[in-house]
């Protein structure tokens, strides 16, 4: 039994299908299911929702050092429930795991952690806010003012973040539809963090600063059976506008897409399936497979027709379940930086 | 030397012998009568498979007749146990075969003395003399495998005579030897037997050898002629 793979299967059914566990995680099995018109309750909703199967606190940051070298940073805490609800001690059905990564133009560092719920190894509290696993933590007096730490055998970081804008809600007020069959999640973001701190890299510490984007999402049935993977973009344009767009690729061609246009003041416009499009332009050989690392991204409504390219095409998360995640640069109709996550490339 | 009044050393009366063949018993000897006294020499001739060797084996207490009487040196062989017959073999009879006469693990000297020692009256002087006369003095410490065929037969003869047998049987003793050697070995045999006063029975198919004996008998269809 590879427990870690099992956990991933629960959270990313795409991979599960590929490995012959069709259907696992795509039905609700007694878990609560996201419904339209969510009435979020903060700060409580910054905390875990154990009745839902999966949940994450997903932070990415585009950074640069004083000499202008660009970096990318990722810190993600996942919660995956084997059964709905919470229980004491080892009986807790909640399983936590986390990923941390730092991407430089020519290197990529990634590491992961696993922890059982119930015994204090990992969890999230809201007042004060604290999301932690082992010694990794994202914590602060509230959701707007946070510090962030993580480390692996060969790298680590210690960052401070301050929100510069409001929370942003995707889809219909945070109800984000993920397929034409109606699978959905609750999804909101804080894309306005200013972030600075120290990266511990093999060559020594590097002081960096930039912007960070935190996604909060939870659901119980995130994908439908015929979806094979996703390409997810979070783009920050030099204009101050931001764009979150994803497409869920369908088996046998076609895709389901959604996007949120975020104005500098935090006001949002949601775009339904088909408005946002991302087309691969070039692939890179990464970890023995071809992964698109240069994309044509279009959102005609907003005049977006830009090329999104990986800062480091080798930003491969070679963890228990591997995927690609790394910083990107944007050129074309708009310029800027962002993050790209791609799953389901075999 | 001949004593016609003495009881025969070898006395066969009405000896029958059959071998089991594929289609029932095959008679080989069908009532053979034969007497041989001390000092007498006898050649036994016959076709191949006529039963010469069988007759010799019976005469040497090596095999048993199916019926009839066999007496060697006055002992009724037929009535004897295996052990008693073995005693007759080592005390009264000596046999020289065509081949494989010698005990491979013993030296020539031990081979020559073996039967004499078995019968309990080894005569070292006789052994030496025999070896000398048979031209074996140089070979005494050798093992049989180191000797030529003629030498091996000479050793067999020496061994036979060293035991001072009263009856000496020879089965084609020179059959494996070339003509010259055969003649030489036979000369020595005849001369030595003559000296010892024993009775000699030679099975042969060679008229030349037969001619050297006092008597000649021919075995045909199980009968002596």
């Amino acid at each position: 039994m590879n427990a870690r793979v099992m956990i991933f299967l629960l959270i990313w059914p795409v991979a599960a299908w590929a490995q012959g566990f069709a259907g696992l995680g795509s039905t609700a099995d007694g878990f609560a299911v996201p419904a339209p018109d969510p009435g979020f309750d903060f700060p409580a909703d910054h905390g875990p929702h154990p009745d839902y199967r999966i949940e994450w606190w997903y932070l990415t940051a585009n950074l640069s050092s004083s000499d202008g070298t660009p970096f990318g940073l990722q810190w993600t805490l996942f919660r995956s429930a084997l059964a709905p609800g919470e229980a004491e001690d080892w009986q807790s059905p909640q399983v936590w795991f986390a990923h941390a990564a730092v991407t430089t133009p020519d290197a990529h560092f990634a590491t992961e952690r696993f922890a059982r719920g119930g015994v204090g190894l990992a969890g999230v509290t809201v007042a004060p806010f604290r999301a932690w696993i082992d010694e990794w933590a994202m914590q602060g007096p509230d959701f707007d003012t946070l510090s962030l730490t993580a480390q692996g055998p060969d790298f680590g970081y210690d960052m401070r973040m301050q929100a510069q804008g409001p929370l942003v809600f995707h889809g219909a007020d945070g109800f984000s539809v993920k397929s034409s069959a109606g699978q959905a999640s609750y999804y909101y973001s804080q894309p306005f963090y200013a972030i600075s701190g120290t990266l511990m890299l093999p060559d020594g510490p590097v002081e960096v600063s930039g912007s960070a984007w935190l996604d909060r999402e939870w659901s119980s049935q995130p994908l439908s059976d015929d979806q094979s993977g996703w390409d997810w973009f979070s783009l920050s344009f030099d204009s101050g506008d931001k764009l979150m767009g994803f497409q869920l690729r369908q088996r046998g061609g076609g895709s389901f897409s959604a996007a949120t246009w975020i104005a500098p003041d935090g006001s949002t416009t949601a775009f339904a399936d088909g408005a946002f499009r991302a087309v691969p332009l070039a692939s890179s050989r990464v970890a023995g497979r071809d992964v698109p690392t240069r994309w044509q991204v279009t959102l005609p409504d907003r005049g977006v027709d830009a090329t999104v390219a990986a800062l480091n095409p080798q930003a491969w998360m070679g963890l228990s379940i591997p995927y690609w995640e790394g910083p990107v640069t944007i050129e074309g109709s708009h310029t800027g930086v962002g993050y790209l996550e791609m799953t389901g490339y075999e | 030397m001949k004593d016609t009044n003495a009881p025969p050393l070898l006395d066969l009366v009405g000896v029958h012998k059959s071998y089991s063949g594929a289609e029932g018993p095959v008679p080989v000897l069908r009532g053979v009568d034969l007497q041989l006294r001390a000092g007498e020499t006898l050649a036994l001739t016959g076709e191949s498979g006529s039963g010469k060797s069988t007759l010799l084996h019976i005469a040497g207490a090596l095999d048993l007749a199916d019926s009839g009487q066999v007496r060697i040196a006055g002992h009724d062989i037929t009535a004897m146990s295996d052990t008693q017959r073995a005693e007759v073999r080592r005390r009264d009879v000596a046999v020289v075969f065509q081949q494989f006469n010698l005990i491979p693990s013993l030296t020539v000297a031990d081979n020559i003395a073996f039967q004499a020692r078995l019968s309990g009256h080894v005569d070292a002087e006789l052994v030496a003399r025999l070896a000398d006369r048979l031209g074996l003095a140089e070979q005494m410490r050798k093992y049989p495998e180191a000797l030529s065929g003629g030498q091996q037969q000479r050793v067999a003869i020496a061994r036979a005579l060293a035991a001072r047998p009263r009856l000496l049987l020879a089965d084609e003793p020179t059959g494996n030897l070339d003509e010259d050697t055969a003649a030489e070995v036979l000369d020595q045999l005849v001369a030595l037997v003559s000296d010892s006063g024993a009775a000699l029975l030679v099975v042969t198919h060679s008229p030349a050898i037969a001619a050297r004996m006092d008597q000649r008998l021919h075995l045909r269809q199980g009968h002596l002629e």
Partner: protein
């Protein structure tokens, strides 16, 4: 043409079914013993591996308490939250089964249960309470919990989620933490987070493998020995068969069959026969292993606490090695003969040479090889170190001795021949000497078998004597009591003291001493110790000095491993250095032990409280009643020392049942080798014996002499085998045992046993010779006369 050639060659086997039988049976027996032993080894090893992995022992650094055997769960969480990548393990015993809890999420790859439980669904594992165990372990558990069959879990172990096992054991704590290989950049030192815990580096954890390996090496050595014996049979059979077929080979070549094709056909033939023999042998080995395995399992469980699964699996490593070694053996045996045939001139004599008569040169070469091997053995003994060198020494010595056998026996036979007075005895000795080359392979096999018997008998009996004495010394108290907790222990001490019954607490703590894992024991110095303990070496007033806290006693294992002896100094704890006042023999225990006085022990380990006590009494039954009624101790908590002693002895008796069974088999195989050699030689014997018969020996005489010859050979082999066997025992006790176990066993001699073994060996030889002799006695005179007959 190929088929015709094959038919011509194969007709040899049809006409000589006995040779075919010898070939196949020899190979099958050899392979059978080898693969049987391999099967047992492979099975046992697999079980250990599973056990070692399941327990996480030896593979990973571990964090363990400085005293006691519990770790608070809070410590675990604190360590994790400080950046220590550790995985929890909780362990306890239920119904005699080791119950092991772990966390599948954090346990390191390679942690056995993780691998073993491949087929267990994570949801099921973390889900409702259940434990997983091998099918044979399940019936031993009487828990009110779901039990699921998981064949991959090591026998004697039930595994489950750490939380489930905590509830099964009614505990909220952990036993130890596995330290993962990958640790983050920075983490505070262990002392700062949990000063009461300590890091136990991987290699220094208790190592089950080292101990059990010795047993397996022992078995393997005997397996190899048996195979060598079998190979001797195959070698001689092939030799004879090929010699006898020179005529056929010559005829076929004269008829125009090319030599390479002929050789090719014969190679194919040998391979085919070897494969058949090997398959038979592997099957035989499987049966053998199946018969012996329960014994092995019991033996190992008893001796080392290691569980061996009682079921046999058809593992490629043992049947493969059995097949390979059989085919290689047969081919190498045939190779020399084929080489001769390849070089044989077309018109060479078709008559079989007296193949048994080896040339003087061959004998000299054999003597030289024997001398070289014996020299190598001597060099290994003088210069080598380690288990491998010990076994190399053993191998060189045994094979050298076997090869030297004919060289040693020949002069004896010559001497006897010279000394004999009667013609029959002269002939007997001369003929015996002549038979020596033909029988030498069988005799060498017999030598190896007898030597092994002598060696193992010596080792087992020496071990037993030493161990009985050791038990009398160590298990002096009449009753042993296990208390459940400190309160019960205190109650016991108080009650017993009130009744004037001497109480001997067994205080123990795991420690690192002299950089080795060891156990520190606190003893209440008193008459029991002073009167019963026999030291290997001691300084004057050893017990007084221990009582004063001014001396420590080491067991032999620790003394030898640490290179310490009496009067050396040893650190029994950080900053506490004591002189070694005595070294005591300690058998059947893998750990190093240091004995200090009770007060000193309590100073060093204030937290440790004794749970086990020895009680001295003249009336164990009455005291037992008092303990049960007044103190409310469970009957199962009280052990009678005689029972304990008997059990311990039983364990050691069992240890060697397997070895003994293999010994008997080796002897049987050696007897078989002799029988086969005699039977194949029988045809060659007739021309050798016929003249003797013609000259006045009865067939009965000759048959009896043949029997006597076998007896003489066996007796001579025994005489050579005795020193060889004793040397073997010495190597086992003084070299291999020290390397594998860490203690040296005193060697005792057991002349009566050797005499009995010699008798068995002679009996085996007589049995082997009986049938050929009987056949000889029954040979009709006509068959003997044919040797001489003109009409051959």
């Amino acid at each position: 043409m190929k088929r015709a050639c094959l038919a011509a060659l194969m007709s040899h086997w049809r006409r000589n079914p006995l040779q075919l039988f010898a070939f196949l049976a020899g190979l099958a027996l050899a392979t059978g013993l080898w693969s049987g032993v391999q099967a047992i080894n492979a099975e046992a090893r697999a079980s250990y591996d599973a056990a070692a992995q399941t327990l996480g022992e030896g593979q990973f650094d571990q964090i363990v308490p400085r005293s006691g055997d519990r770790i608070a769960q809070a410590d675990y969480v604190a360590l994790r939250r400080a950046g220590w990548m550790v995985s929890p393990v909780i362990e306890g015993r239920v119904d005699g089964v080791r119950v092991l809890g772990f966390d599948p999420l954090s346990s390191p790859a390679g942690f056995g249960v993780n691998n073993a439980a491949d087929d267990i669904d994570l949801g099921a594992f973390l889900g409702p309470d259940q434990l997983f165990a091998a099918p044979e372990t399940l019936p031993r558990l009487s828990l009110d919990i779901a039990l699921t069959e998981a064949p991959g879990v090591a026998p004697g172990i039930a595994a489950g989620d750490v939380g489930v096992v905590q509830r099964v054991l009614d505990r909220r704590d952990l036993s130890r933490l596995l330290v993962l290989a990958d640790q983050p950049l920075t983490r505070p030192p262990l002392d700062r987070i949990a000063p009461h815990l300590r890091l136990l580096p991987a290699s220094q954890s208790a190592d089950l493998g080292e101990l059990t390996d010795s047993f397996h090496l022992n078995l393997t050595a005997f397996g190899l020995l048996s195979f060598a014996v079998g190979l001797f049979i195959v070698y001689s059979t092939i030799g004879l068969a090929f010699e006898q077929r020179r005529g056929v080979v010559r005829t076929l070549r004269a008829l125009g069959v090319p030599l390479p094709r002929l050789i090719g056909i014969m190679v194919a033939e040998v391979l085919l026969l070897a494969l058949v023999g090997a398959v038979l042998g592997v099957f035989l080995g499987y049966v053998l292993a199946a018969l012996l395995l329960p014994d092995v399992a019991i033996t190992l469980r008893g001796l080392y606490g290691a569980e061996v699964s009682g079921t046999l699996r058809f593992r490629p490593e043992w049947w493969g090695s059995g097949m390979a070694i059989a085919v290689l053996g047969a081919v190498s045996a045939a190779g020399a003969r084929l080489w001769q045939i390849a070089r044989m001139p077309l018109l060479a004599s078709a008559r079989p040479r007296a193949w048994a008569m080896t040339t003087g040169q061959a004998q000299r070469i054999q003597a030289a090889v024997a001398a070289m091997l014996l020299l190598a053995a001597g060099l290994f003994a003088l210069l080598g170190s380690g288990l491998a060198a010990g076994f190399a020494l053993l191998g060189c010595f045994l094979i050298g001795a076997a090869l030297a056998l004919p060289v040693l026996v020949r002069p004896v036979l010559t001497l006897a021949e010279g000394a004999s007075r009667t013609p029959v005895s002269t002939w007997f000795w001369a003929d015996t000497r002549q038979q020596l080359p033909g029988l030498s392979l069988a005799l060498m096999a017999l030598l190896l078998a007898i030597s092994a018997n002598v060696g193992v008998a010596t080792m087992v009996s020496s071990f037993r004597l030493t161990f009985v004495a050791f038990l009398d010394q160590r298990l002096a108290p009449e009753l042993y009591v296990q208390t459940a907790d400190a309160a019960e222990a205190q109650g016991l001490e108080t009650t017993m003291q009130a009744q004037g019954i001497p109480v001997l607490p067994l205080l123990r703590a795991d420690a690192r001493i002299a950089d080795l894992p060891a156990r520190l024991l606190g003893v209440r110095v008193g008459p029991t110790y002073r009167d019963n303990w026999v030291f290997l070496d001691a300084s004057a007033g050893a017990w007084d000095r221990v009582a004063d806290g001014a001396g420590a006693i080491l067991n032999e294992q620790l003394a030898r491993r640490a290179g310490l002896w009496v009067d050396d100094a040893i650190d029994v704890a950080p900053g506490v250095t004591l002189p070694v006042v005595a070294v005591v023999g300690d058998y059947g225990n893998p750990l190093g032990q240091v004995f200090v006085s009770e007060p000193l022990f309590r100073d060093l380990h204030p937290d440790a409280s004794p749970r086990q006590f020895g009680l001295r009494t003249d009336d164990p039954a009455a005291l037992r009643a008092v303990l049960e009624t007044e103190l409310g101790l469970a009957p199962s908590a009280i052990t009678n020392q005689t029972a304990l002693k008997a059990f311990s002895l039983q364990v050691f008796e069992r240890t060697f049942t397997v070895t003994a069974a293999l010994n008997v088999l080796t002897l049987a195989v050696a007897g078989f080798a002799m029988l086969m050699s005699l039977l194949t030689l029988a045809d060659l014997r007739v021309p050798q014996l016929a003249p003797v018969w013609a000259l006045g020996l009865t067939r009965r005489d000759i048959g009896q002499l043949e029997l006597m010859r076998a007896g003489v050979f066996a007796a001579l082999v025994c005489i050579v085998a005795l020193p060889v066997g004793l040397a073997l025992a010495w190597v086992l006790l003084a070299i291999i045992n020290v390397e594998a176990f860490g203690w040296r066993l005193p060697m005792f001699l057991f002349p009566a046993d050797y005499a009995r073994l010699g008798l068995y060996a002679v009996l085996a030889a007589l049995l082997a010779a009986a049938w050929p002799a009987w056949r000889l006695m029954r040979t009709p005179p006509s068959a003997l006369l044919k040797v001489f007959a003109n009409e051959r």
